[in-house]
Symmetry: C3
Subunit: 202 residues, 3 copies
Amino acid sequence: MDIVYILDIIGVFVFATSGVLTAIDNKFDLVGSAVIGFITALGGGTLRDIMIGQTPVGWMYDVNYLWTILAALILSYLFRKRIVKLRRSLFVFDTIGIGLFTILGLQRTLATGLDPAIALIMGMVSAVFGGVLRDVLTNEIPLIFRREIYATACLAGGLVFLLLTKFYDHELLAMAISMGTVFIIRYMAVRYNWSLNLRARN
Amino acid sequence: MDIVYILDIIGVFVFATSGVLTAIDNKFDLVGSAVIGFITALGGGTLRDIMIGQTPVGWMYDVNYLWTILAALILSYLFRKRIVKLRRSLFVFDTIGIGLFTILGLQRTLATGLDPAIALIMGMVSAVFGGVLRDVLTNEIPLIFRREIYATACLAGGLVFLLLTKFYDHELLAMAISMGTVFIIRYMAVRYNWSLNLRARN
Amino acid sequence: MDIVYILDIIGVFVFATSGVLTAIDNKFDLVGSAVIGFITALGGGTLRDIMIGQTPVGWMYDVNYLWTILAALILSYLFRKRIVKLRRSLFVFDTIGIGLFTILGLQRTLATGLDPAIALIMGMVSAVFGGVLRDVLTNEIPLIFRREIYATACLAGGLVFLLLTKFYDHELLAMAISMGTVFIIRYMAVRYNWSLNLRARN
């Protein structure tokens, strides 16, 4: 599961970076940016763990998550302009992160013996509620509620994972396919929205 | 306890409907509306369960809650105008829901061995914090903080329940009377506010 | 540990008072003020306990916290103007409260066997997230994110406590010194900000 751990860390890094950049846009100071980066990256998983009763919450057992967020904080402050230019690459990793967080959250919920329907919801919570908490703390209506595709992609990916693991016995392959599902839906959505915007402008 | 379960489901349905209607008013999409409906209906109980350590939280053990919220979502989208016209009937069920959630939350807290004063607070949290979370997520100052009667009615109803069960051994009757207390206080409050508004307008 | 308990109660009283005054400024009613006072005083510790799995959360085992908050509520309503004039004295107790909440939160986290780095974060969460929740519920961007010194002071005080208890075996002295650290940093920060504001005005 080494590749999964590495992807997890990358996902945390990208989510934290997105949180820190939002915080800087809101003129938060260094500590405020660290808190927002932290909550964006680990808030969804924290909420999931609290609700399914897996406490102390997961990230408390692996200090690497803290170092990853600290690295995202420092790099965001040092190379902000360059990172903003990398938005396209960040989008790729962000979507990988969302897909992975969905599946990891789903697996963790299933492992406690809860119903697959609950696991599906908790997978989505893991992936998107970090962003919801970030938006609430920066006093914005959560983006997720107006751009349904984020949550929908998570639910679809989670469903694919549940179906694949039900009928086949290859979990890593199922993870790859379901994360691919999240990726494709989100990628198509961004293109679709783009043309939608063009039409709306006429 | 069949009647209690049926009232519980009706309460969840009415709360979810109120959440979905608020979400539609805020131009949230379908997924956003589902999330807000869900949180309005189950957010208070979730918060209570997390705080008193009853995790995984209660609704995770009964998928019927999910179906109920899904039904509320679909019906709210299909028959929005007709539901808005039913506001008076909704108010009745909403108040029954608040009364029931208060007592169920109180009972669940007492069952963990906590102090009745804590159970009283947790009953109120169960009944009103779903609405508080809805308001926070739609970026409004929670209504509850300016219309004290919601929370006060819960506390009064909870107190009546505690006193009745202390001196008599008939729990269902105590539930009915304390829910009636919540109902009467809220009903009178709505009338009182109405005349207050009339006076304020002069 | 009697002195610690007394300071804890004083801290809760001062935090609750600050919450109630904010609520009154926002034209919240009595119940709304009670809820905001409660969350300001006990929200940080509640969040910490939930995350580290110490549930039912701490204040549920000691009804004195409720009485303390009730006292803060009543006194704030009766003597609002006089309390506002006491702001300087309140600041002293507020900072003592922040220092104490940091150390108590840190100790409680360490006691569950978690890493000192996690305990440091949880100490900070205990001290400042009550204020964050108050700001979110009154629909403001949390002050803490723009005035880094609150959180920084907590982290510094927590670090001093960790180092002192690692090398010396006198916990009460370590508490006193680390709370003094929080106090001095915050006191200096207020003076520094003051002159900063003067400069910014030119």
